[in-house]
Subunit: 468 residues, 2 copies
Amino acid sequence: MASRLQGRFGRLARVPLAIAAAAGWGSTQGDGAPRPPSIVVILCDDLGYGDLGCFGHPTIRTPHLDRLAHEGQRWTSFYAAAPMCTPSRAGLLTGRWPIRSGMCSSRRRVLVPTSAGGLPPEEVTIAEALRERGYATACFGKWHLGHGASHRPLAQGFDQFFGTMHSNDMGRTEDAPKGLHAFRDPREVYWRVPLYRDDAMLEPAVEQATLTQRCTDEAVAFVRGAGDRPFFLYVPYHMPHAPQFSAPPFAGRSRRGRYGDAVEEIDASVGRLVAALDQAGRAASTLLVFTSDNGPWRADPEVGGDVGPLRGGKGEVFEGGLRVPTIFWGPGLVRPDTVLDLGSALDLFPTVCGLAGVAPPDERALDGFDLGPVLRGDGASARRHVFYYAGTELCAVRAGAFKAIFVTRATVPAGRASHDPPLLYCLDRDPGERQDVAARHPREVLDLRARWVQQRAIASAPSQLEVR
Amino acid sequence: MASRLQGRFGRLARVPLAIAAAAGWGSTQGDGAPRPPSIVVILCDDLGYGDLGCFGHPTIRTPHLDRLAHEGQRWTSFYAAAPMCTPSRAGLLTGRWPIRSGMCSSRRRVLVPTSAGGLPPEEVTIAEALRERGYATACFGKWHLGHGASHRPLAQGFDQFFGTMHSNDMGRTEDAPKGLHAFRDPREVYWRVPLYRDDAMLEPAVEQATLTQRCTDEAVAFVRGAGDRPFFLYVPYHMPHAPQFSAPPFAGRSRRGRYGDAVEEIDASVGRLVAALDQAGRAASTLLVFTSDNGPWRADPEVGGDVGPLRGGKGEVFEGGLRVPTIFWGPGLVRPDTVLDLGSALDLFPTVCGLAGVAPPDERALDGFDLGPVLRGDGASARRHVFYYAGTELCAVRAGAFKAIFVTRATVPAGRASHDPPLLYCLDRDPGERQDVAARHPREVLDLRARWVQQRAIASAPSQLEVR
């Protein structure tokens, strides 16, 4: 994001968006019809709510993301679909609560290399919906939605794939010390994670230090090779999930240790990607979304991330587990603002369908809302509720400022506690969930309980997460 | 900050600062000599580290301050001189640890209306130093450094004063309910706080709801009336100290309750002030500093503020007590950046003296460092240590990333605990002070203990805080 961009953004920021919209997002197809915008979704792994400069981190430097937040929209109440990796990704790509696809379980939290299942072929992903409309599609990063023939990226709407099928801490070797020690001072030999290109294994054990860089290289090449065709580019970075590895010059550079190195490398990678969009003349016709799959791992302050003002972390239904740092950016598409409205990763599917002029699949229930009016600055979010699942269990409900927690659980199956009356927090006034105000707000408790009962009626599909 | 400013800031941000400096800060006196820059210091009361949008608050809207942070410098490790009001302000205005002036005590935390003392006349304030150089000086807000004839603003270097001598929660009436109830649902009749203009009482009980607005009105009028003369404008807002009051349209507007209303009114007030600087043609020759006197009151989640990722709050020596959200802004004076260097309110005195070309008083020890090189972007902060006092007791020391806490105390005199070995935190990696790493870093413990012993040798001046 060099000075070349600054001037253009500065100018665009003052152009009423209605004009940009009337101009067909600033670009037309050869036949004069408006060209649908391209979509870039960058998904971090275990990045905490407080881990970016623009979300208040004191020592992690994220100048590129800070600039995107300033030029676009910083969403402060945006939620992952689940507090764990696999169900969160399933929700993001399908726009449906993971219980509908069986991508969550009461016994297992995520898919592992010995799991039999994966995202069912009958599910429709964003990639499938946009490919129907002529989009080029690609996924570069961590898939984690199944490695069977019918579950892989190329079976789920992506033209291209480069990355790993599972998390970067899976395939742990006998060289690795026990427990947290492997993450506090990690070495490449502790893990053997296979790298894939499309459907074929490329390397039996990828070098983790170059993973972020190589995924970014692929993304940049994809943008350069897209020509005039609209594209859907999904970049689910492996980092900053433990173990954190970074390539030079990022390794050892940040003040936040390996975790900060990984986040700063992602920040610079986003900068590279935006520069590539600009060089390809695509920046003004692209929506970029930056978010995280769930909150940070809180087992160790240095190995895991930070939740900023929130409470809890990965796997929990306190805010730190699901509320994620989210930026929408797109000159001409997104009106600069800080957005306090409710949003969810489930909303990306209908939102990008709206932008692309694609009718969402009507044969199945969609749980997301089109955020287009908020992005354009001409309306509020239609989302009224956020649901907090741990595995298949609906634990908490938010409506407006209030959130009722009926069940707290840190892990599946351990650490479960029921609350009757539920814990009630006013998140607008008490983002850290410090003060239970159930006694002062009986009507909100009633309303949220009714919504909880209603949502629990949604049946779980058979779990895809069990091992063979 | 209308669009009129955007273009100029965008342009200035790309002008090398050396050029601006060589041009005499963009302005000259009538005789052709460079005109020294004006200084605006905006000090909030009990504003927490996490209470601005640009420091990560999820629901308090601070678009003006966010913009200043983006155009200027956001300092993420900037410290108040003390975790309580009176000593903090004494440190800021004198550049000296409050124990040197007697503006702290082992028994009382702040000055009260029955205190006999105040800032000793022999202390030199920023206002006195700059007035010597021909600056117009003014203080509009909360003084809290003594109300005797020799302690008042007009006796301490200020040409003008408008505001109160003490905090807005002092002068509590018999109408007020006990304890926190008076703050949860505050009414004007619960407090009688006298308002002063210069040395004369103007109103026996100021209307608190209009305090921020009236102080801003005074500040705007002062800027407009300054002509070409350089000025030092000190605006120590009463808010968001409890009880929070705001004028329309801010009362009831924020999602964060009364606390958020007060912060959003201050944000808009800063916007008014910057607009006034711009209209007077003074924006390019003014350094604006925005900071807080100490961390937020943590007795109640709604009544007090938020510390973001930090631990503790007002009165404590955990980070939340002293680390404050700080912005330096000045087109042509300040190079846009996020600054991780150590800074302290004590550094303002030598920094503004450096900008104004004033030699600091040499007959007394100054504890601050000139931050000019960091502001210009051509050097690092010379500050190597931060000290954490509670009252007269030195409780903790930070050097670089590490902080050793030898004594924790929440209030004076209650809640004191000694730690041997000290608690040691790596703040760069663990800003929330969650993991004591003393056992892993014996050398850092030794270094910080030596510095602690050395600093404790500074003798305390007789306390000014005792009651008559």
